[in-house]
Symmetry: C2
Subunit: 419 residues, 2 copies
Amino acid sequence: MAQHNAFYAQSGGVTAVINASACGVIEACQRHPDRIGKVYAGHNGIIGALTEDLIDVSQESTETIAALRHTPGGAFGSCRYKLKDIESHRTQYERLIEVFKAHDIRYFFYNGGGDSADTCLKVSQLSEKMGYPLTAIHVPKTVDNDLPITDNSPGFGSVAKYIATSTLETSLDIASMCATSTKVFVLEVMGRHAGWIAAAGALAGQGEGEPPHLVIFPEVPFDRARAMARVEACVKQYGYCVVVVSEGARYEDGTFLADSGNTDAFGHRQLGGVAPTFAGMVKQDLGYKYHWAVADYLQRAARHLASQTDVEQAYAVGAKAVELALDGQNAMMPTIQRVSDAPYEWRIEAAPLAEVANREKFMPREFIREDGFGITEACRTYLAPLILGEEFPPFENGLPKVARIAGHKVARKLPEFTI
Amino acid sequence: MAQHNAFYAQSGGVTAVINASACGVIEACQRHPDRIGKVYAGHNGIIGALTEDLIDVSQESTETIAALRHTPGGAFGSCRYKLKDIESHRTQYERLIEVFKAHDIRYFFYNGGGDSADTCLKVSQLSEKMGYPLTAIHVPKTVDNDLPITDNSPGFGSVAKYIATSTLETSLDIASMCATSTKVFVLEVMGRHAGWIAAAGALAGQGEGEPPHLVIFPEVPFDRARAMARVEACVKQYGYCVVVVSEGARYEDGTFLADSGNTDAFGHRQLGGVAPTFAGMVKQDLGYKYHWAVADYLQRAARHLASQTDVEQAYAVGAKAVELALDGQNAMMPTIQRVSDAPYEWRIEAAPLAEVANREKFMPREFIREDGFGITEACRTYLAPLILGEEFPPFENGLPKVARIAGHKVARKLPEFTI
């Protein structure tokens, strides 16, 4: 069969394992030299395609490509750039097709979350309308775990492992000093819309009284009095209280805790931070000594503590994307199908993008304990396998060894395009 | 020779490896059953000795003791409790001796930082005056790396490795998205008095332009205009800017950045956080999109990423403490002596507590780059070996396996004592 080129791009917030998916895509492409010629990566995601800013992946060494598997961040650059609707911004989509045509790109692999699934679908539809034979496959990725159909999203398992481990470790720290020092520790985690990551913190403890003692979910309207009463009860019963709070925690009326009207010395609105806000309530209402941490990007970049399950799945969806494309299955997304909980078994399936785009998966209510401060056994059963296994990166001089892309640019063939 | 009991206690802020020292002390004691009978651990540090709240370590399994080597926090409980001066609070010191006498404790191992070295010395002096034959050894521990004589303090190397790794990982994250998203990332690290931990963040990068681009030390008076100018220059030149800021960062007049007068909606002084404060300046002065993280206890509890060098040294000072005691060397502290930088070699020596107590080791000025925003080669040479090697804990169900002390209490023999 004829040989054509492939395009790969990363989209949206990066994860500890998005490069493992890149590795999966690239290595799978390289296993089919009869069908796939060069792999071009979009520099800074889809912007690279629009501006014809392409990296020639074939000029990277085999070692560099293999090392992507254990390198966090987005090696080719990612972007927060959502293509606008196709009706009013048709030129953007047409430009993509032009660039693909100019570089004989017939395979389009787009690695991202919900928005990029939608973009991928639209590009596929337009290419069809324009009579350009493009096979578009979306490679799932998001720490938020909010993609539908797939049992979980690559990227989430590693954040979950990091947060569960950090909660366990810091809980031991607090527990050992609570008699004379910090009584309440608050860890802020990501998840603006859904409490998946916060829920993962609960994996650190199991039995009655084991920390974390409170998990604050975006899904449960925040009630200060109830939360503080629970903190107080924990300190009285266990000597200390560990709280995992989602950045998306909000009041009944939808106001985020982090936006609760704090101002700085200049009268400017105080900059986010649910953890310090919660800690401030503890101080005001209960007077306990507190400490707080905001994990922020540390949690989604922590490849050193990636879940082996997550790494393998991230790689597998990348490799599967290429198989699907070579099989002529257009506008699809590889999905993870859970076969069994314990022992955990999974396989890769696929779903049409039309069923994926513009649908978010939220935490089921039955995953949150009735009192709203913890997870149920059903949730534990779901989450537990996702953090299984370690795949530590190689270290050099005490630090993780990472892939550094040479980034040879492909010569431009088209006029400039302003986005 | 006669057999007597030993007492071990943890003091002050715990670290990822203080239990490795406990393991070193206990296993070394157990190798000398002819000389050392039982090891009693103070529950919650020295408070356990004062209140006769002792844990019988001989009732813990060999596996539990071995597992201390990879368990963060303070397994027997630590405390923030400084014994007052001996003149006005002689009863406290006398009580310690009484408890030791009642339980035939002739070996006193105190595992902590500068304050506990001082306490250890005083206890030793008083026992001599009172004619009670006690051998008191201080086991060094502090993430702050501020103990004198010893080349470095056990506990520091692991925080250093965690901060350097986190800086490297998050830098890759920011770099990959800076074209359309976050331009400035601020990571707040511990170190109220000295910039050792902040300096460790600089190990993440080496060449010109490699992140972190700015390190903010407590030792260098903070100049907002200069710092913001540098942030702006980095964003213009590299596309982004990564900042590691010490919690102890302060202005010329000594005011901490974290205390710069922010108030919340209730007019209360806003709760710390140098990172959000710095990020706020970036927003106000430069308008860049920012993110910030506060590592807080995560950094000192992160046993999962401990430095192998640090674990080995923590164990070694514990074991050496017992050797010193059995050798009759009273009022001493095992120290780490650097033999060579590369390859890194070290050995354990010992120093008299009289030379250790009440002396803090600060960062030498020649370790800070002339512009005040980075480290020198001399600093790098000093720091680099301390993060070498990995000693990952065993994992179970995706989480680090930790020691859980059974904590059998020793029967009390004395009247109650109120502290």
